[in-house]
């Protein structure tokens, strides 16, 4: 029960957030942060059971027929992620309180962030794949809302749309993959699928399902070539970048890969595809990060590179790699989250994020400088920070990678060197050296702005010194979830003098050297702008414009504003479909049912035909209205001739009201003049005749074709007994088929609102 409560409490607070914000005013951030903190403590309480291997379960039926159940499952992996999400969530809420202080829509911001946190928790705790998918889409949605938060700015809107289209598209692929997997594996429950892995991997549908899953994961975790939406997402306020686009949301793809490892992993395709994507992203992310000058974009590209490392490690698939992945996951979330928050604090205080115009802030913002320094050192992998252990493990994992180890190691080292440089540029450069002029006179950031970065950086240091703290309570159960086998994990700071240590030292030195040569690379990148047509974001833009162009053309064609073309299209389409159905097998029974037509029916029929001709050829619209009135009364009498008083009364009333309506409408219409040429009138006549013919054929066929037993018998007998009414027509309308009538009157109401709006539209 508790698991579901953690998720839905987040949603509940998200709904209440705007109102509570009005009450709590300044301290909202602090108060709201209590929820994620409580969740973290509550979940942490289960680490003993999780370590012992039995996972916590809860399941609620939702759509039993489709196999969709809201089932939750807490094991090592989900515990690790859930703690990250809720822990950093609490810090981000406090940070957001300070960063967006006094912002008009801060209440709305809180509800979006809380909605995101709840859906992210949903993703990591869900056991049913479809439930996971629903939360997955909710994260994309809330990320869209958050990126586009200051929606007045055009680039925020386009960045939000870009993020939504790509992650949303990936989500669709994921859904298809889930359904495929569900049909192959027989159930949507991850735990159930886990022990059916043998059969899944041999199944012919395995490859498509795998590809779809990978597509979903790669778009969400910004792997190449889908990486370009992440730097774009920096248009979001910094708390969002710190929370979604570094620590949690972009890790959803990594989580999915880790969670599906026991089910989809282990095959050659998985190994090559994931490793390739990971390595490529790692390299591209790093290379693109180097020339950047904006603090947040630097961090964004380095996040892309870090995600690449994580995916690469999951691709390698050895126990060593899984261990490195889990440790690096924690390391990266901590230092990247705090660096983002630091960047936000610096931007908040100095008014600029351009690295070249920042310097010497250490004297003015000592605490922020301390946090930034610690985080940067952890990023470079400097002992005694946790980052050092992370880097060591990564290098060991790459060393023992089964395939192409030297190549992977080589790319890894380059990426890490650039990582070190970026850390220096972001974490160290703004605080050292001579002071530069900045738009706003900086002073120390308020408590709420430096608390987050400092806590996370300190955690990086603390865990670095005592890795045992998280070793077997968090990391090893997570690895068990991924590898589905028992692992004893020893995490210690010092791995002894070996090749890996040499490699780390070399990386740091090369990184510092590259730091001093960074301007050269910036000029180099400047000249490379010519190649920009290759980048995927250009392709994305071209694709979007092409889509919009096609949409405009198609709309101009079909919605060209002329009512008669709309009618024409509708009639032609209906005719096509119905003619097709009429011709089909059930064929035509005899038409004897219509032999006995009584003389007064024929007389009435002929009279109505004459009236129709009058309506057709009359010069004035009012004559046509009168002729239609005559036809209407004729139909009413025909209803009487066929013994349907209810219908006759309705027809009489409707006819009179429509005549009145006609008169009123004609009063407002301009004088009647022939608008259409004879050719188009001929075309309209032809279409009308065809349509009329079709309808008659349809009615004839329908009356003497018995597809299903008639239900009118049932209504007739039970009308009095069940529904206390002798008038079967009305009884059907308001009792047996009341739901249909409810639908009808709703439709009528909506139509009336539409008509009212149109009539009140004063054409200015």
């Amino acid at each position: 029960m508790g698991l579901a409560a953690t998720i839905f409490s987040g949603f509940l607070l998200a709904i209440l957030a705007p109102f509570l914000h009005r009450l709590l005013r300044g301290k909202t951030g602090w108060v709201f942060a209590l929820l994620p903190l409580a969740i973290a403590i509550y979940l942490a309480g289960f680490h003993r059971e999780v370590r012992a291997g039995e996972a916590l379960r809860a399941a609620y039926e939702w759509v039993p027929t489709l196999g969709i159940r809201l089932s939750f499952y807490l094991d090592g992996l989900s515990l690790l992620f859930a703690l990250l999400i809720s822990g950093i969530g609490a810090l981000v809420l406090i940070y957001a309180g300070g960063y967006l202080h006094g912002h008009a829509q801060l209440g709305r911001f809180y509800s979006y962030i809380l909605m995101f946190m709840a859906s992210m928790l949903g993703v990591v705790l869900a056991d049913n794949l479809l439930a996971l998918f629903i939360f997955w889409e909710l994260t994309s949605l809330s990320s869209y809302l958050l990126i586009g938060f200051n929606h007045e700015k055009e680039d925020s809107r386009s960045a939000a749309l870009q993020a939504l289209l790509i992650t949303g598209g990936g989500g669709l692929a994921l859904l298809a993959g889930i359904i495929l997997l569900g049909s192959v594996g027989g159930s949507y429950e991850i735990s159930a699928l886990a022990n059916a892995d043998g059969v899944i991997r041999e199944h012919p549908l395995y490859l498509p399902a795998l590809l779809l899953f990978l597509l979903g994961a790669f778009t969400k975790s910004a792997q190449a070539p889908f990486h370009f939406w992440l730097p774009g997402a920096m248009a979001a306020p910094t708390p969002v970048s710190a929370y979604l686009h570094s620590a949690t949301m972009v890790k959803a793809g990594v989580y999915l890969l880790a969670r599906m490892n026991p089910i989809l992993g282990g095959s050659a395709e998985w190994h090559y595809l994931v490793t390739l994507a990971g390595a490529a992203t790692m390299l591209i992310g790093a290379l693109l990060a180097l020339p950047q000058t904006d603090l947040k974009r630097l961090l964004a590209y380095s996040t892309v590179s870090a995600l690449g490392i994580l995916v690469l490690l999951l691709g390698i698939g050895t126990a060593e790699a899984a261990k490195a992945a889990m440790v690096f996951l924690v390391v990266h979330s901590l230092y990247k989250g705090s660096l983002f928050m630091m960047a936000g604090a610096v931007d908040h205080e100095t008014g600029t994020r351009d690295v070249q115009s920042l310097g010497g802030l250490v004297k003015i913002m000592p605490v922020t400088a301390l946090a930034a320094g610690l985080a940067a050192l952890s990023m470079t992998g400097f002992p005694p920070l946790l980052g050092f252990i992370g880097k060591e493990l990564i290098y060991e994992a790459k060393l023992q990678a089964p395939t192409a180890a030297p190549l992977i190691l080589g790319i890894g080292v380059i990426a890490n060197i650039i990582n070190v440089t970026v850390a220096a540029i972001v974490g160290i450069r703004p605080f050292v050296g001579d002071k530069r002029a900045t738009p706003r006179k900086p002073h120390e950031a308020p408590l709420s702005l430096w608390l987050g970065p400092l806590t996370m950086a300190a955690a990086g240091l603390l865990l670095g010194l005592f890795p045992g703290l998280i070793a077997n309570s968090l990391v090893s159960p997570a690895i068990q979830a991924i590898r589905a086998e028992e692992i004893v994990l020893k995490l210690k700071l010092w791995h002894g003098l070996n090749f890996v240590l040499l490699l780390s030292v070399f990386t740091v030195l090369a990184g510092i050297a590259l730091f001093f040569a960074r301007n050269f690379f910036r000029r180099l990148a400047g000249r490379a702008q010519g190649l920009s047509f290759l980048t995927p974001s250009v392709w994305y833009q071209k694709g979007l414009d092409g889509l919009m162009g096609f949409a405009r053309a198609q709309t101009r064609l079909l919605q060209n504003g002329y009512l008669r073309y709309y009618l024409l299209t509708i009639f032609l389409a209906t005719m096509l479909l119905v003619f097709f159905k009429l011709v089909l097998p059930p064929g035509w029974q005899s038409l004897e049912k219509f032999a006995v037509a009584r003389y007064y029916e024929i007389g009435l029929g002929v009279a109505m035909l004459l009236a129709a001709l009058v309506a057709l050829f009359s010069r004035s619209r009012l004559t046509a209205a009168i002729a239609l009135g005559v036809i209407g009364y004729g139909v009413a009498v025909i209803f009487v001739f066929y013994g349907a008083p209810d219908l006759a009364i309705t027809q009489i009333l409707i006819e009179t009201l429509s005549v009145i309506l006609f008169v009123l409408v004609v009063y407002h219409l301009p004088a009647f003049n022939r608008l259409s040429g004879s050719r188009s009138r001929l075309r309209d006549a032809l279409v009308a005749l065809l349509f009329g013919g079709m309808m008659s054929a349809l009615v004839l066929k329908a009356t003497n074709l018995q597809l299903h037993p008639t239900i009118s018998g049932y209504f007739a007998e039970n009308s009095l007994s069940l529904a206390h009414g002798r008038n079967v027509v009305n009884v059907i309308l308001v009792d047996f088929r009341a739901l249909d009538t409810l639908g009808e009157i709703t439709v009528l109401a909506v139509a009336a609102v539409g008509v009212f709006a149109l009539l009140k539209l004063k054409l200015k």
Partner: protein, 138 residues
């Protein structure tokens, strides 16, 4: 310049129409009639009044804005369905109660009748929305 005869006539005819429409609404369950027809008749009555004494007079006489009528109608229909829920069976099942009036004898009242009343209000509302909107183009 409306004709006096029409104005006087409508002052007497409209109440007759309205009474008749309510009669049709009530007896609809056993004889030809029902919410839809009753609604149309009531709407016709008010349109007659509008034609005779002007749209504003008709709106004043109706006192409720037709759009609120539509909303009220939908709510009544939903409520009549929901009543069945309270007594445990599914949405929109008919619940009947027999009312023993002192001299009128039994008067069967049921949720379908309430539903019919909902339809009645919706139909009046939508017809008047459209026709009043057309009529008041001055």
């Amino acid at each position: 310049m409306t004709s006096t005869i029409l104005r006087i006539a409508s002052r007497y005819l409209t109440p007759v129409f309205l009474f008749f429409s309510l009669l049709i609404l009530y007896r609809g369950h056993n004889a030809p009639g029902g919410g839809f027809i009753g609604g149309l008749l009531a709407a016709a009555a008010l349109i007659l009044y509008a034609m005779a004494c002007g749209v504003d007079a008709a709106r004043a006489k109706l006192r409720i804005d037709p759009r609120i009528l539509v909303a009220a109608g939908l709510l009544t229909a939903l409520l009549s369905g929901a009543l069945a829920l309270f007594s445990g069976n599914s949405f929109l099942t008919g619940r009947w109660v027999m009312l023993h009036l002192p001299f009128l004898g039994e008067l069967p009242l049921g949720t379908p009748l309430l539903f019919d009343l909902g339809v009645y209000l919706v139909v009046i509302g939508i017809t008047l929305i459209m026709l009043f909107a057309l009529m008041e183009e001055d």
